[in-house]
Subunit: 417 residues, 2 copies
């Protein structure tokens, strides 16, 4: 790839100009006859995982530490800790040493490719403080693996995940005072990678920047669960087979705002993404979705979620809930199923008295119980009684997850820093 990258940057057929780098026609053109919708790994990003040396980290502490906000004033992603972690990459040098510096603006040429072609991907994860005062991360390996997949899909560099977790741990320890120590509070971490090449030709960036910022956050439900209502979106489509809906790319977010605003304008908290003529249920807003219904044939309780078919974000919370459900609900008679299921199936379950509960799943809220779904002009009742804000499975999952995240239950998913 470096060879390609250093060859003709001569622009620019096109609407906006591909950097052309083709060699003469190869005699052995590879035959592909199956529609496999996969990107060959050897061309994903920089090809190989690229080394990071955490021992080279430099730290420049702030000279103007911020005041901590009172817990009740914490708003997601609005206030940030004293420092940021950053690391530059170039095609010729690989990853340069990581730096912790005071939180500060990025200064970028207006031609930088992140502004034009959305060379950007990110993660959302949290640092928790347990009762003993230890700092903990929750399954950071999953976030780093996903960030590598996201980066590779848009030709950004990958990295050694363990070395990156090491650096993130050092960062969290330095900004430890921003990790609140009450249940439900945490320090939200936002690892981000952007392409920084300063030319307008469309091609793989020859330079990139990884950075991480951190925002202390309070519980999503400060006064207990509050069920949400959804509007099924059938006029816009979030993701497609062969697309990038399973990656955490910036590209997946901006196009989803209008459907969300439209749902909100009609009084719904979030929109529910359907797919295809069959109206498969895929995701809700920016969460995965779980439906607990009684199986039509057997009457058994079943926890359903859409499969990872390339159109679903591979949520860490989704995966954790599936694991916990298989480990702790299946012995109690539950069936746990990843399969495509439709809006009609959910409506039928509601109509036939088989609806147990529905909830979203994501890092910010862990679970978000759903009261109603608007679909084809009717409101589907998702099984919550009037004065109840969460079903038992959602509430149980939140309890199990928080127990692990805050270290009440020792579990391999929780990494003590």
């Amino acid at each position: 790839m470096l060879q390609q990258r250093s060859s003709l940057l001569l622009s620019s057929l096109s609407h906006c100009a591909f950097r052309s780098s083709a060699a003469p026609l190869s005699a052995s053109v590879r035959c592909r006859t199956r529609r496999c919708y996969s990107i060959h790994a050897d061309l994903a990003g920089s090809g190989k995982v690229q080394g990071i040396d955490p021992s080279k980290l430099t730290i420049t502490k702030t000279t103007t530490p911020k005041d901590l906000l009172p817990p009740e004033e914490l708003i997601f992603g609005r206030n940030f800790s004293d420092h940021m972690l950053s690391m530059e990459w170039t095609a010729s040098q690989g990853w340069l040493p990581g730096r912790i510096t005071p939180y500060q603006n990025l200064s970028l040429d207006p031609a930088t490719c992140v502004f034009h072609y959305a060379f950007e991907c990110f993660e959302g994860m949290k640092a928790y403080k347990d009762k003993a005062g230890n700092l903990r991360l929750f399954r950071p390996d999953r976030n780093m693996a996903r960030l590598n997949k996201s980066a590779a899909r848009i030709a950004l560099p990958t990295f050694d995940p363990n070395a990156m977790i090491d650096l993130i741990g050092k960062f969290v320890k330095l900004d430890e005072r921003f990790v609140p120590d009450a249940r439900g509070y945490s320090l939200y971490l936002r690892p981000t990678m952007i392409g920084t090449q300063r030319t307008l030709g469309v091609g793989p960036p020859s330079s990139a920047l990884f950075y991480l910022i951190a925002s202390p956050v309070g519980p999503y439900y400060p006064t207990g669960f509050k069920a949400i209502s959804l509007e099924a979106t059938d006029y816009a489509v979030r993701a497609w087979p062969g697309g990038v809906g399973d990656k955490k790319l910036g590209a997946n977010y901006a196009p989803c705002i209008l459907p969300q605003m439209q749902a909100a304008s009609r009084g719904f908290h979030q929109n529910l993404w359907l797919f295809g003529e069959e109206e498969y249920i895929t995701e809700v807003g920016t969460m995965n979705l779980f439906a607990a219904i009684k199986n039509k044939e057997t009457g058994e309780p079943e926890l359903l979620t859409a499969p990872l078919d390339g159109t679903i974000l591979e949520g860490v919370t989704r995966d954790s809930i599936l694991h916990l459900a298989r480990e702790r609900l299946e012995p109690k008679g539950w069936k746990v199923t990843e399969r495509k299921f439709t809006m009609k199936e959910v409506a039928d379950a509601a109509d036939e008295g088989r609806m147990l509960e529905i909830f979203g799943a994501g890092t910010a809220a862990i679970v978000a119980p759903v009261r109603k779904i608007s679909w084809k002009g009717r409101l589907i009742d998702c099984g919550l009684e009037e004065n109840v804000e969460a079903g038992p499975i959602a509430a149980q999952m939140k309890e199990w997850m928080e127990g692990i995240q805050y270290g009440d239950e020792e579990h391999p998913w929780s990494t003590v820093l």
Copy 2:
């Protein structure tokens, strides 16, 4: 929308946290039963076109003018003129006065939404110098209309297109010395709009920045046409119904790099995007595609291109070629058709001796003749004889287009500044 925007920014169910702004469930939930795949205009971006007052433009000239590069050293999008045009928008104040300043870095908080959620869209257009030394733009109204559509689709503000063209004209005049005066040369203009809100909640940006930078460019074919070869991509999908493939969003570009790199690794200049089981031909790399073939039934020559069904970029060059073809080729017996057509149709035309020529169409090259297309393990011959680098229609279109762009032919598409 402003009301929504100013309400709860309280985060954050989710993978990455929607800013929730829903009112209580509306009694009159609107019924939508048809799958219409359109975003209601009243919720697109800021709703109404927002005023710009070009008379408030301020100009700060550079004190360190750049040396002009020799024409042969001009590379697309790599070197820029002395100045940039920029204009900030806030939800409460609308568009602030435009500013022309020395070309300079943007300084942005690392939480700025453009880095995380791809709130970004752009245009590609050119300024030309005619024989009399006049500066000209080519159909700037089309670029501004498209930028407004792109911006609205991702909840960025729209603007009065005529006022914006006025500002762009002032900018081009100030940096006139960067507009080369030879045929095939031009000053490439890159209007860009980014979301600048400095919070991580996912929602409509409450602030944005429009800016324009300019890069002098040489002819795409300095020594005459050079036909390209394409690889049909059937394992990845650029756009889909209900998606945003018809908008010029950054989100449409980064995900297209790997298929382009894969095509290049097998010796092809660009990839050709197919769609669906039918393998409809949609776009080539970052260009629209035209096929000239003899009609199977009538034997008449026909110029084909994919229709604007929401998955195709609405190319200004595409539209111009269609106009010129209808005006100047139809009287000569050509049929000009916008319809879905498949890779198999093209292969059949080649097999049956009905292939005339194929070419891409975009701002950078105007036309890009195609020699071969790799598809299902075979190479489709696109009708060029061995020592010929462009078919007659491609060559004619380039001549017509350049004649208008450089003012040799007076035409309403060419705007003298």
